[in-house]
């Protein structure tokens, strides 16, 4: 059996009296797209935040690639190969598209205690960054301010930044949020290709996207995982239908 790339062990988190994450056990196997679905307020974003290190869990462990990373900061986790995109677009608006990706490349290169050489004269880095932009089809936008490009393009930029981190595991929090139909389907095709490069943990509301992309699905309800399996299994699972699909499609 393959060793899981990421494993959460009895993860718990609550705010005040509200339990957001309730003993979550999750195994993410390498080389697949693992989607997490669940109704609004099921605790998906809270879960991602704990995996990425933005939030500290109340209890439980997170193992990444066989190491316990529970106490590591989010920057350390990112250095180990855990990249994420944000639900709310968070690219650097006052910078150009290229500068955004360059930052990510810098992040992947290890420390940035280099005080003298201007980055825009670093041809190796420029090339690399342009490469990532080409991959998501934003090369012609490189010199525009991030604030000037369309929302869909900003989402693409966000992902290309995550890719520039050369992640072993990519955490995508609703990458299709706010996208038009055409942009969404372009994104789906793109993500499908990405499967060859990296493992993806995907949170997405768009069920068509999830069903067409995911190799494995976990269903989160009220902070706990009620089922994990292939798309087919999950669709057939009566508990899921009752708890989730029923609600959503009622």
């Amino acid at each position: 059996m393959t060793r899981p790339l990421l494993r959460t062990n009895g993860l718990c988190k609550s705010f005040g009296g509200i339990v957001a994450t309730d003993h979550v056990e999750l195994d993410i196997l390498p080389g697949i797209i693992h989607a997490i679905i669940g109704p609004n307020g099921a605790g998906k974003t809270t879960l991602i935040a704990q995996i990425s290190g933005a939030l500290k869990p109340d209890a439980g462990q997170i193992e990444f690639n066989g190491h316990d990373i529970t106490s590591l900061s989010s920057s350390r986790r990112a250095q180990l190969g855990l990249a994420r995109s944000f639900q709310v677009t968070s690219v650097f608006m006052p910078m150009t598209v290229l500068e955004n990706v360059m930052l990510a490349v810098q992040g992947a290169d290890g420390h940035s205690y280099r005080f003298w050489r201007p980055v825009h004269k670093d041809s190796e880095m420029l090339e690399k960054s342009m490469g990532y932009l080409q991959q998501v089809g934003l090369a012609d936008r490189a010199r525009h301010l991030a604030a000037e490009i369309s929302h869909g393009e900003q989402r693409q930029l966000e992902i290309s930044m995550a890719l520039a981190m050369k992640p072993r595991l990519l955490l995508l929090d609703e990458p299709m949020a706010g996208m038009g139909l055409e942009e969404s389907s372009r994104m789906i095709r793109f993500l499908a290709k990405l499967r060859e490069q990296t493992t993806i943990l995907l949170i997405e509301h768009d069920m068509d996207a999830v069903f067409s992309l995911a190799d494995t699905l976990s269903v989160l309800v009220h902070g706990s995982v009620i089922a994990t399996g292939t798309v087919k299994n999950i669709r057939a699972n009566p508990e899921v239908q009752r708890a989730y699909l029923g609600e959503e499609h009622a």
């Binding site: 944000f86 940035s112 205690y113 980055v119």
Partner: protein, 331 residues
């Protein structure tokens, strides 16, 4: 993309300005205006301090209301050794760098756990502590301050003695500071600082330990400002705790904002405007009516308010408006 030989109007203005500053002592000697050299010397010292503040505030989003503490620390690093008849300039320089760095490291390590307005207040707290500490150091003059009889002594080719020599020390330090900031903000390090200003969480998810980068930046800024203090101690021949009160830190902020926060030459231009106003606004009021001298704070305050309401981006911002070709490359 560099600001050194720019095609833009504002860039050319700054080039001319630097050339003028380089030849200023000759001009003043020729026109027999030694006082203007003094005024300019003090202005440039404050410009170094303001440039150091601009590094953390304009580029890094860390608004410090306690930066004058570093000026005081630098000046006391000249004054206290001088009190014991130690005038070796290298010792003064070394001491200034070490003490400012250590204070910046300690204060920064605590302060940088906070952001925004909390950062403003905690830097204020640290500078107030330093202020009161020096007020109570009776041995070194306490509130009355400390007279520095002689300037720091350097080898002949680097001497600080005489107003022109000191001026070139100050000018050279300013050039170095400007060049340092210019390189720093364009290098990898500076990009991280700029990123952390806009979205710290995002930077962390890109693998940057932003706290450490900011702390490094704070220390660089503190040491630079300490150097300005060392020069001020030599220039004034005197240091008192008053020079590090929170009002002085506030004035440094005004100089940066007045000139254009986050622009290389903003602090220099802003300091110039500030020092000229401070010196000539009272003169002007006196000229209008001799008994109005004591009311010069009124037009000064009005100018500040109007600047904020209508002068977005400071003097640099206004210059840039003249300059249709200015791109945001001079960030």
């Amino acid at each position: 993309m560099t600001a050194w030989f720019p095609s833009s109007i504002s860039g050319r203005c700054y080039c001319v300005l630097l050339v003028l500053l380089a030849v200023a002592p000759w001009i003043f000697q020729w026109t027999d205006q030694p006082f203007l050299l003094d005024l300019l010397s003090r202005g440039l010292i404050l410009a170094i301090a303001a440039t150091s503040l601009n590094l953390i505030m304009g580029y890094g989003g860390m608004v410090s209301l306690g930066h004058a503490a570093f000026i005081g620390i630098g000046a006391y690093c000249v004054g206290i050794p001088a009190y014991y008849d130690l005038y070796n300039g290298w010792f003064h320089l070394g001491l200034t760098i070490v003490v400012s760095a250590v204070f910046a490291l300690l204060a920064g390590a605590v302060s940088l756990r906070t952001r925004g307005v909390y950062f403003i207040m905690i830097t204020l707290a640290f500078s107030q502590m330093v202020y009161f500490a020096f007020v109570s150091l009776e041995e070194y003059g306490g509130d009355d301050g400390l007279v520095i009889y002689l300037r720091s002594e350097f080898p002949d080719f680097l001497t600080m003695q005489g107003p022109v020599a000191l001026y070139y020390w100050i000018f050279a330090t300013l050039l170095l500071t400007l060049f340092l900031v210019h390189r720093l903000v364009r290098a990898r390090f500076g990009r991280v600082i700029a990123g952390a200003k806009h979205n710290e969480q995002r930077m962390q998810s890109l693998g940057f330990d932003t706290y450490r980068y900011r702390l490094t930046c704070y220390v660089i800024s503190g040491v630079t400002c300490g150097l300005a203090g060392m020069l001020l101690g030599n220039f004034t021949g005197f240091i008192s705790p008053e020079m590090m009160s929170w009002i002085r830190s506030g004035e440094l902020i005004f100089m940066v904002v007045m000139g254009g926060s986050g622009f290389l030459f903003g602090p220099l231009v802003g300091t110039g405007a500030f020092v000229i106003l401070e010196q000539y606004l009272p003169e002007f009021m006196k000229f209008l009516n001799p008994s109005w001298l004591e009311y010069w704070h009124l037009p000064f305050g009005l100018l500040l308010v109007l600047l904020v309401l209508f002068g977005k981006g400071g003097i640099h911002g206004m210059l840039s408006k003249l300059d249709s070709r200015t791109r945001q490359s001079d960030r």
